[in-house]
């Protein structure tokens, strides 16, 4: 069972990417033997999260066996939609969310986001943070303030790995998605020190080719049972623990 936790569909403004449609994504998943993908919408990032999420739900409606929707959310959700965030997630069966604070011009700190964090924590909904736009200090603060909230750092800046080791040690709810974790023996070392449960497979399609991250796991010098955890079991467990 392979679950790719870092996939986007939709048209990207600055680059003609390898694919943008759901059908092309399914084709790529089949080629790489990826069973399921956690998918967000480019429109949610570059235009408007609320419209983008709705567009996502429409485009994946015939593929719910393969696609797990990931909504892009805002700390001002209630104000902008006149609906409760958790109610919206529940009614749309959305169990994974992602934030883009730089794109959407909000500060990823408690004074802005505490209500959002509390709601997500109460429901154990995994929060995906975009590596290049979030500092290790912010991650530490979120993980410590909301210990029941699974926090997954996506497409990390891998040269910051000295900080990640501290985060793994200090924060049991910190997880690392591996699509850009290009550290020599990086996967083996984290598994050795902290266990395989802290790593999540993601490809970063369609910006990157899935073969790179797949090969990083499949040729990692760790038992196949631990490879399976990274490739899909860990994310399956986190999604299974969501309470909505």
């Amino acid at each position: 069972m392979i679950i790719d936790t870092n996939v986007m569909i939709g048209r990207w403004p600055t680059r003609n990417l390898k694919f943008c449609s759901i059908n092309d994504l399914i084709q790529q998943m089949d080629y790489h033997n990826i069973n399921q993908a956690v998918v967000f919408s480019a429109t949610s990032v570059k235009h408007n999260p609320i419209e983008g999420n709705m567009q996502l739900m429409k485009s994946i409606s015939n593929h719910l066996d393969r696609i797990i929707p990931c909504w892009v959310i805002l700390p001002t959700w209630e104000m902008e939609t006149e609906r409760e965030l958790i109610d919206d997630l529940k009614s749309n069966k959305v169990k994974v969310v992602r934030v883009f604070p730089n794109e959407h011009h909000f500060v990823l700190d408690n004074w802005v986001c505490s209500n959002m964090f509390k709601d997500l924590e109460a429901a154990h909904i995994p929060l995906l943070l975009n590596g290049p736009t979030v500092s290790p200090t912010q991650i530490h603060s979120i993980c410590k303030s909301y210990p029941e909230l699974p926090v997954i750092l996506m497409q990390s800046e891998y040269a910051l790995n000295r900080n990640f080791y501290m985060l793994f040690g200090l924060c049991p709810n910190f997880y690392l998605e591996i699509s850009t974790y290009f550290i020599y023996h990086g996967i083996e070392d984290i598994v050795h020190r902290f266990g395989a449960s802290r790593l999540i497979f993601g490809s970063r399609m369609p910006f990157q080719e899935p073969g790179a991250a797949l090969t990083m796991v499949k040729l990692a010098d760790i038992p196949s049972s631990e490879q399976e955890m990274i490739l899909g079991r860990n994310m399956e467990r986190l999604i299974g623990e969501v309470k909505i």
């Binding site: 290009f182 550290i183 020599y184 023996h185 083996e188 970063r204 990157q208 080719e209 090969t215």
Partner: protein
């Protein structure tokens, strides 16, 4: 069994023949490198994933002390003859001492190529002193592998190694094979790298720099230039050993072309020097 399926069978996978044309050695200031980034560790990694030979320029050579780095890679090549292809790092900031150092290195036949890292050592490819390095390579039958990067360096707000700046050397030194590491790193750098690799038979590209080079795919290079111009490089231990490998083995190209990228293209460059 197809190459992309071999990844599920590591014992079979390591029987693939692979030459890694871009690697370093030792620790770096930039990040924590787990495991053993010294030569024993690299050889162990190579054995586990089927890399037969590796081109090395140590981290210390491209970050700080090029002479210490050249000594280090020579020791590695002496300890593992046939596995390690030694690259002599040039540093044109040292003027005539730089050429004396290349001369010292190339008295030993284990050195086959010259490494340039204009960005880390902070000199421009436009600097006239680089001409002497290309002249040296031409006279000694050496190939050159250079970091290429069309980004503006954030410390200096200038560029050091835009691929297009190599063109005068490519015109003058047609017998010197030049490997553009990272394909220029940016969309503009990639386009320039492609243009020059189409125009000049002695220009090659490598698969490293995935962190920045997500703008291109192996299929795109195969379609727009030729797989004959693409070499497998990992950049280990600065990067992991296998992500670039994944880009090649999962690419939608023929099995023969995968073998060419992983092994034969690099072998052709090496055999020109024997």
């Amino acid at each position: 069994m197809k190459i992309k399926d071999l990844v599920n069978y590591p014992n079979s996978f390591k029987k693939l023949k692979i030459i890694d044309t871009h690697a370093h050695l030792g620790p770096t200031k930039a990040m924590y490198i787990p495991g053993n980034p010294n030569i024993e560790g690299l050889i162990k990694t190579m054995d586990r994933i089927g890399i037969e030979q590796i081109f090395i320029a140590p981290h210390i050579a491209i970050s700080c002390d090029y002479i210490s780095g050249n000594n280090l890679v020579l020791k590695a090549a002496q300890k593992y003859p046939g596995r390690v292809i030694a690259l002599a790092t040039a540093n044109i900031n040292y003027n005539s001492q730089n050429i004396r150092e290349l001369d010292r290195c190339f008295k030993n036949s284990l050195f086959k190529g010259i490494k340039l890292h204009p960005d880390f050592l902070e000199y421009s490819v436009k600097d006239f002193r680089l001409n002497a390095v290309f002249r040296f390579a031409a006279d000694h039958g050496a190939f050159i592998i250079s970091h290429t990067d069309a980004r503006v360096n954030s410390n200096h707000l200038i560029k050091f190694s835009d691929p297009s700046w190599f063109e005068p050397y490519l015109q003058e030194f047609k017998n010197v094979d030049v490997i553009f590491a990272h394909c220029g790193l940016t969309p503009e750098g990639f386009e320039e790298s492609l243009r020059l690799s189409k125009l000049y038979s002695n220009v090659y590209l490598d698969t490293t720099g995935f962190r920045f080079s997500d703008i291109w795919t192996v299929e795109e290079i195969a379609r727009r230039v030729s797989v004959k111009k693409l070499l497998f490089g990992s950049d280990m231990p600065y990067n992991d050993a296998v992500s670039a490998l994944g880009r090649v083995i999962y690419a939608d190209i023929s099995e023969e072309n995968k073998h060419r990228i992983l092994y034969k293209n690099a072998l052709d460059i090496l055999q020109k020097r024997r």
